[in-house]
């Protein structure tokens, strides 16, 4: 791939784990200001033993340069000030790049050639609103609200896959597939089948309620055995406890390894909006990264145990990166370019980044890490090579109008 074979001058070292001239950056994200919470969604019944896909959405705008610091960039330390200081040494990947010290598991995956760090990646949307940017991230459009369904939902629809969401609400990214289920652990007893049958009659004239009830009924009666024990109940009632994301990741793996399990799962973690006090080693960013790292490890472990890791690709993405420079309150404000991670058995590993540099003149608007890779290129590459979505469908339906965005090749041939 062109990008990998022609590193830009600023970051030139090769990944230790890979003879190709790939750059290895740090991965992971910042947990942040709005407090951590997490959810899990599933989509699509695949053929037995088919390929699996997991999307982890980091809501709030993960600081890409906090999670994957460009410590070898000459302008990194001066722009970041105290944010360039870490409680423990960053986990080096090469002469230039490193991972946040709380991303040890991800670092190990990079070392094993199972994880690729894609840096300076982002959306074509550049206006820095969380809500608009998340809409674009999930819808797969260019401008907010031009599309009302999600790219993953549309991708699954091309193969007639159905969906299931392991959260109370269906995330936008999954909307558009013919059916999407949601599932979340419950602490209440199951209603009687008789009541549900009566409700179905009563909902005959209310299609949205009828559809939701029907999907829920199948899901709950089908998975009743799975509901009984579980840390994932930590997600209900008074909200997420620490470790809830790990429990959800474990649950995601349990679903995905089933022969007739879903083809895709969506996990979400909030809390990355680190406007203030990002430097705190016990703060939201550090804690979020720790939780993300543990969750990714749990997901991997469950998939390995169930024999599905070799056919699973996981993409971790956020709506935008944050400002290169530290702000006035030891945090970072909304930016544009950031980092994404791709992991799984079929992944080549290493780093992909057309590094723009961090000097003020190299930044977008003089403030943000410049986006040099369209996130859609990453997603198109994974959907094409792993879920075998046809390129015409990718260009026209999944990411409409994206003919010129060439898919990245991130998986082993």
């Amino acid at each position: 791939m062109k990008r990998r074979s022609t590193p830009t001058p600023r970051v030139s070292s090769a990944a230790p784990a890979d003879p190709a001239r790939r750059r290895v950056l740090g991965a992971a994200a910042a947990a942040g200001a709005l407090g951590a919470w997490s959810t899990l969604s599933f989509a699509g019944a695949a053929g037995p033993g088919g390929n699996r896909f997991v999307l982890v959405i980091l809501r709030g705008g993960m600081d890409g340069l906090g999670a994957a610091p460009a410590i070898g960039d000459a302008d990194f330390a001066s722009a970041r000030g105290p944010l360039a200081q870490y409680a423990a040494p960053p986990l080096r990947l090469d002469a230039t790049l490193a991972l946040h010290p709380n991303l040890g598991e991800l670092h190990a995956m990079v070392g094993r050639g199972e994880a690729t760090i894609v840096h300076a990646v982002g959306l074509t949307y550049r206006e820095r609103s969380h809500f608009d940017a998340q809409q674009v991230l999930e819808s797969g459009g260019v401008r907010p609200y031009e599309l009302t369904t999600g790219w993953l939902g549309r991708a699954l629809a091309t193969s007639g896959s159905k969906g299931i969401a392991l959260s109370t609400a269906v995330p936008l990214v999954l909307r558009g597939s013919s059916v999407v289920d949601t599932w979340a652990p419950s602490v209440l007893p199951n209603p009687s089948a008789d009541l549900v049958a009566r409700l179905e009659r009563m909902y005959a004239s209310d299609v949205p309620l009828a559809t939701a009830l029907e999907r829920a009924r199948q899901l709950h009666f089908d998975t009743a055995a799975m509901q009984n024990n579980d840390d994932a109940t930590a997600m209900t009632g008074y909200g997420a406890r620490p470790g809830a994301f790990v429990a959800l990741a474990q649950r995601a793996a349990e679903f995905l390894v089933q022969p007739a399990g879903p083809q895709a799962a969506v996990l979400e973690i909030g809390g990355w909006d680190t406007h203030a006090n990002q430097v705190n080693p016990n703060g939201a960013l550090a804690g979020g990264l720790r939780q993300l790292d543990a969750g990714l490890a749990a997901l991997r472990s469950g998939l390995v145990g169930g024999g599905a890791w070799s056919r699973t690709v996981v993409v971790v993405a956020t709506e935008f990166g944050r400002t290169v420079a530290i702000n006035g309150t030891l945090g970072t404000d909304h930016g544009t370019g950031g980092v994404a991670f791709v992991l799984g058995g079929p992944v080549r590993g290493g780093v992909v980044a057309d590094w723009p540099g961090l000097a003020r003149s190299q930044r977008y608007d003089g403030r943000d890490l410049r986006t040099t890779t369209d996130l859609r290129a990453l997603l198109k590459g994974v959907l094409a090579d792993h879920l075998h979505v046809a390129s015409r469908a990718l260009d026209a339906e999944v990411f409409p109008g994206s003919e010129k965005v060439k898919p990245l090749q991130l998986l082993r041939a």
């Binding site: 200001a33 709005l34 407090g35 919470w37 809501r59 709030g60 000030g81 200081q85 206006e127 609103s129 969380h130 809500f131 608009d132 401008r143 969401a165 959260s167 109370t168 609400a169 269906v170 949601t182 599932w183 979340a184 419950s186 602490v187 209440l188 007893p189 209603p191 009687s192 008789d194 009541l195 009566r198 409700l199 009659r201 909902y203 005959a204 004239s205 209310d206 949205p208 309620l209 939701a212 009830l213 029907e214 999907r215 829920a216 899901l219 709950h220 009632g237 008074y238 909200g239 909030g270 909006d273 406007h275 203030a276 006090n277 702000n327 006035g328 309150t329 030891l330 945090g331 404000d333």
Partner: protein, 470 residues
């Protein structure tokens, strides 16, 4: 055949209120019933509620206890010092909010309070706002829901909970005295400064979520430069780390000197500039449209009729942002009274309207949270943990976002629990007719009539489309 007046009574009670066990309370004049409720929200019920000053003191005391817990004095454990910290305050807030809504005779005002509390979201998911959310609702929102939007906007923006939630208390002018002082102190100690400049969080969200709306950013009404300049205007509006009773919320030492230009207009240095910017934002046509759209979406339809939004916007602009006038227009407009309810109740509305339907008194809200059908925990289990909206945009006001299969299933589970007890002592057939009136559909009435027993009949009523929607 129901008269249109009966239908209007049912719509007034359910769409604009929080449901009634008997439509007789609406009497013969549904519009008049609603209009008479326009005004400040009820005084909150309950005890143990902190005002803003007390809540800040409590936060400061909690911080001290945590400091102390790092090195507990003899005879005390760290756990004793920090256990139960904010929980009592938050549970008291939540119970008060629900009991007030369940028992009020002015449910339209209560709905407006809920709408504005969500519009100006402050969430305890951010630790700095924890313990202050209830005081914010009571002191900044409740008294101001029917006055000028500007008054509400100023109260919300300058409340300590908002200043902390969106980081403004930490934002300093890059050329402010505190930044210069911090730089000198840091140099002396050979460490980094704790504050060095702006934090744009509050400025951006006031523009995007509270006034002009995201559409305005997309349309170029405001730009990044306006966000940055507005952030400079906002500097100095903060809450001291150790609040001193009577201390001003504005600290000039943190304020950025010089004039700032926001939306093409120049504002002077000092505390007063914020009020001037908010004054101008409140009168901006984009704000009028944004607020009108959200109100119409909340009460009438996820995608409200454009003509209704136009008329609300006109009422807003004509009255100089007097919210009472906008509400009067809303309840006067035929488009608001369409016969088919499409809005799905939020979990909070569902639980509160259940309490009103079944005439649960104060005591229902005092149940221990270990009890699964206690109100506060139930709303959380249904997906809307009180005081804990996931982002500054607040809870969604669109049915799609509440209609995930699991969310609907949890409503079924909870309704089953409630009905298991209450269904044995009420006549659900009569209740359905008295509460829903002409809204009650033939199929729902038939299913209730044929229910296997009382609990099942009540569960069916609570889960009926006519009760889930409004």
């Amino acid at each position: 055949m129901a008269s249109s007046l009966q239908l209007q009574s049912a719509i007034a009670a359910h769409r604009f209120g929080l449901g009634e066990a008997n439509l007789a309370v609406v009497d013969s004049d549904p519009q008049g019933w609603l209009a008479a409720q326009i005004g400040p929200a009820d005084a909150p019920r309950g005890s143990g509620l902190l005002d803003t000053r007390q809540a800040l003191d409590h936060v400061a005391a909690e911080r001290e206890k945590r400091q102390l817990a790092k090195n507990p004095p003899p005879g005390m454990t760290a756990e004793q010092l920090i256990s139960g910290h904010y929980r009592e305050v938050i549970v008291a807030d939540a119970r008060s909010r629900l009991a007030t809504a369940a028992l009020t005779q002015r449910p339209f005002a209560e709905r407006l309070q809920m709408f504005w509390t969500n519009h100006f979201t402050v969430s305890l998911l951010k630790g700095t706002a924890r313990g202050l959310v209830g005081a914010f609702e009571r002191d900044a929102i409740r008294p101001n829901i029917a006055g000028r939007f500007e008054t509400l906007l100023v109260a919300a923006t300058t409340h300590p909970a908002m200043l902390r939630y969106l980081d403004n208390w930490l934002s300093a002018g890059p050329d402010s005295r505190v930044v210069a002082f911090e730089a000198r102190r840091a140099a002396r100690r050979e460490e980094g400064p704790r504050v060095s400049g702006l934090n744009e969080n509050l400025a951006r969200e006031v523009l995007e979520l509270h006034t002009l709306g995201a559409e305005s950013a997309r349309g170029g009404v405001y730009t990044q430069a306006d966000v940055t300049a507005f952030a400079a205007v906002l500097t100095g509006w903060r809450v001291a780390r150790d609040p001193d009773p009577g201390a001003p919320v504005f600290d000039p030492n943190w304020h950025e000197p010089g004039r700032k230009t926001v939306l093409g207009k120049s504002y002077g240095e000092g505390a007063d500039a914020l009020r001037q910017v908010l004054h101008d934002l409140a009168r901006h046509p984009a704000t009028a449209r944004f607020v009108s759209t959200k109100l119409a979406r909340h009460f009438v339809a996820d995608d409200p009729p454009p003509a209704l939004v136009d008329r609300l916007t006109a009422a807003y602009l004509k009255s100089d942002g007097l919210l009472a006038e906008v509400y009067r227009e809303l309840i006067r407009d035929d488009a608001s009274w369409h016969a088919r309810p499409t809005k799905l109740k939020t979990p909070e509305e569902f639980v509160v309207s259940t309490a009103r339907l079944l005439a649960f008194g104060d005591r229902w809200f005092e149940r221990p949270e270990a009890n699964n059908n206690a109100a506060v925990g139930a709303i959380g289990a249904l997906g809307q943990r009180l005081q804990a909206a996931p982002s500054p945009a607040g809870w969604s006001d669109r049915a799609d976002d509440w209609l995930g299969p699991d969310a609907v299933w949890k409503r079924v589970e909870w309704a089953t629990r409630v009905a298991d007890r209450a269904g044995r002592i009420v006549d659900t057939r009569q209740l359905a007719a008295q509460s829903l009136g002409p809204l009650l559909g033939a199929e729902t009435a038939r299913q209730i009539e044929r229910a296997a027993d009382g609990p099942q009949a009540l569960a069916l009523l609570l889960l009926a489309p006519e009760f889930q929607r409004r």
